[in-house]
């Protein structure tokens, strides 16, 4: 008893010393250290632009080490009236800057935020379009998510009866094809994630968030997979299908996010071509989900569930993307998709092995390359 207490005290002692040292350091104002050389480093990132009638509203985040005070705002080289709750933005803090400006539909603007030290943070609005009110398009985003996520996945799953009739050699090829499809999705999500992350505040993690998301998803899914395989009554094929669904679902979350945010900033023309492109692209995902269960019995309920797990997140993503574009969050979500897909690919490898136990045989190599090519080609439609 006494020895356990001692263990605790010994463990906590260094923490107490750190606390005392930090407080003392702060009270004495960092003895022995000189102030910064040169002016404070200012780094502001515009995370969101909302164009209303006669106004431009920016959500600005301070990504630098020092507080930043916004003093003036100029639009297209002309000073403009603006309002913000608090002119000083603390480290990692954010502020709303509402600028009164009679912007004209379809024209380009450059907003220059002039800080109290005279520094300029420039923000481009390549094409000014009225930002839609998020509450007004919950239905539209749900419809869009259903079009690009749920319906195509469901259509792709209709290959199941056909899959049941083809010889095992074909299944191996199809599993390889699935790996190719998924590999392309992982690459796509990783690149998209890094692009989004770099647009946001580097201090919040930047592209590293994609890596964190990927590792987290990989580890969690591995844990889930181990837990499921330990439970009785779970067939290997269904378990694999579910994992594929989760991986694809996380990918579709990212896809929905991209569509929603593009729509919110007016960068996306919603049209039949776009929706059809995404639909064809995502139909192949349905095939990937049902391939693992082609050799075993399964219930319609389970299939519907698999479809929703894979396609449903597109709706959620579209909502999130349209309502708020927080680059750090988007990067993390896209990273989750990458990790999930990597884990799924690892799970699929045994089903590609041929009689001799080889993974990379001519059929699997052809399948993987075909899968990537198929995704690339259908991606051109979007």
């Amino acid at each position: 008893m006494e020895s356990r207490l001692n263990t605790w005290v010994l463990g906590l002692l260094p923490l107490c010393v750190i606390a005392v040292a930090v407080v003392g350091f702060a009270v004495l104002d960092g003895p022995g250290l000189t102030a910064r050389n040169g002016p404070p480093a200012e780094e502001l990132v515009v995370e969101r632009t909302v164009l209303g009638a006669g106004s431009i509203e920016l959500v600005v985040r301070n990504a630098g080490p020092d507080p930043v005070t916004l003093a003036q705002v100029a639009v297209n080289d002309a000073f403009a009236d603006f309002r913000m709750s608090e002119p000083e933005i603390g480290r990692l803090g954010s502020a709303n800057v509402r600028i009164t400006y009679p912007w004209v539909d379809g024209e380009a603007y450059e907003v220059a935020l002039l800080t109290s030290t005279g520094g300029i943070v420039a923000h481009e609005i390549p094409v000014a379009v009225l930002t839609p009110d998020p509450s007004g398009f919950i239905g539209l985003m749900a419809l869009l998510g259903t079009y690009v996520g749920v319906i195509p996945v469901a259509i792709g799953m209709l290959w199941l009866p056909w899959l049941r009739r083809v010889p095992p050699g074909w299944i191996r090829a199809l599993m390889a094809l699935t790996i190719g499809l998924l590999a392309w999705l992982a690459i796509d999500a990783a690149l998209e994630g890094m692009e989004v992350a770099n647009a946001g505040a580097g201090a919040l993690g930047g592209a590293g968030l994609v890596g964190i998301g990927a590792i987290a998803a990989y580890l969690v899914l591995s844990g889930v997979q181990n837990w499921m395989s330990a439970r009785p009554g779970q067939t290997g094929g269904y378990r694999l299908s579910l994992l594929v669904s989760v991986g694809i679902g996380l990918h579709n979350l990212g896809e929905g996010l991209a569509i929603g945010s593009a729509y919110a900033v007016g960068a996306l023309a919603l049209g039949a071509t776009l929706v059809a492109g995404f639909a064809i692209h995502n139909t192949t995902e349905g095939l990937a989900i049902v391939a693992p269960v082609s050799e075993e019995r399964t219930t319609p309920f389970r299939l519907i569930f698999l479809g929703l797990v894979a396609g449903g997140p597109a709706i959620l993503g579209a909502w999130l993307g349209a309502a708020t574009t927080q680059p750090a969050l988007a990067a993390l979500l896209l990273g989750l998709g990458v990790g999930a897909i990597a884990q799924v690919i690892l799970q699929l490898t045994p089903s590609v092995r041929d009689g001799g136990g080889r993974f990379l045989h001519p059929v699997s190599i052809t399948g993987i390359l075909t899968g990537m090519l198929l995704m690339y080609a259908t991606g051109l439609l979007t």
Binding site: V75, N76, D77, A78, A80, Y101, P102, V104, G106, E107, A108, Y109, E110
Partner: protein, 292 residues
């Protein structure tokens, strides 16, 4: 290039002077009246390139308002556009009718109208333009025109031309993609300005170019008399090149002694090659000697 659809043609606009509607006041002076309507209009500024312009009376430049020194002028601005506008005249007038946002008559809101009234003074070549912020935008979109006040004692008889040096920022990056005199790039290359050998040609030259610091006018093979702002009857210089900042203007008097095609253009070669160049076609009139 569909000048018909634009509703104005640089080859007719160059000799188009709008003298308004006149009546006599009780004190015997002439009252001259115009109505200008501000409206949005798609203008084809180069073959196949449309520009969402803002115009006075559906044309760029707006009508060339011509009066004589000492007359009473009354200009009604009707705003049929989606943005507030004004007309700010260069010339002498009360602050009340200056057409500046926040002063006197101030803004003319969409659907509204206002009347600017003042005396025509001083004589010379002036301009008018919208003076609403953001100023560069309101001018670059096309809201400007020439305001010409003739001296009481008329200038000598001449073939008179209006040339407004302008440009268009078609991608809204605050730099011009197209340069021209009278809006349409290169128009006087394919359709030269026809003048007569031995006859006095008077050019009313105004620079309204936004986004570039200066503009200029140069003519080949000839010299001209230069009357800055047209406020003096004696020329300031005999030259073949003048430089103007935005809002600067002047009168050129030139007599072509020889037949032939003579180029005129901005002497910023970039502007010239992006549209601001043209030809005079000096032809043989009754007094012309074929020998040249």
């Amino acid at each position: 290039m569909d000048n018909g659809k634009n509703g104005f043609h640089p080859t007719t606009l160059i000799r188009d002077f709008d003298r308004g509607k006149t009546s006599l006041l009780a004190d015997g002076r002439t009252l001259r009246e115009w109505t200008l309507v501000a409206r949005e209009k798609e203008i084809e500024v180069a073959p196949g390139v449309t520009f969402p312009a803002w115009t006075y009376n559906g044309r760029i430049p707006g009508p060339t308002l011509r009066a004589t020194e000492g007359e009473r002028l009354r200009i009604t601005l009707v705003n049929h556009s989606a943005h507030a506008h004004t007309i700010h005249f260069h010339g002498l007038h009360a602050a009340q009718v200056d057409g500046t946002a926040g002063i006197g008559l101030s803004l003319v809101q969409p659907g509204g109208q206002t009347v600017y009234e003042f005396d025509a003074e001083p004589f010379g070549l002036h301009l008018y333009h919208c003076h609403v912020t953001p100023l560069a935008h309101h001018i670059a979109k096309g809201l400007y025109g020439v305001f010409l006040i003739d001296p009481k004692e008329a200038r000598p008889e001449a073939d008179e031309l209006v040339m407004v040096m302008n440009g268009f920022d078609t991608n809204f990056d605050r730099a011009n993609e197209l340069y021209a005199v009278n809006t349409i790039p290169f128009v006087y290359m394919s359709d030269p300005v026809r003048v007569t050998v031995g006859e006095l040609v008077r050019i009313y030259l105004v620079n309204v170019l936004e986004y570039d610091l200066v503009n200029s006018f140069h003519v080949h093979g000839n010299f001209f008399d230069w009357y800055p702002t047209g406020t003096s009857m004696s020329p300031a210089e005999h030259t073949d090149t003048v430089m103007l900042c935005q809002g600067q203007r002047g009168i050129l008097e030139i007599t072509f002694p020889r037949e032939g095609r003579f180029m005129f253009h901005a002497h910023q070669s970039e502007f010239a090659e992006l549209g601001w160049m043209g030809f005079f076609e000096a032809g043989c009139g009754p007094a012309c000697e074929k020998s040249g």
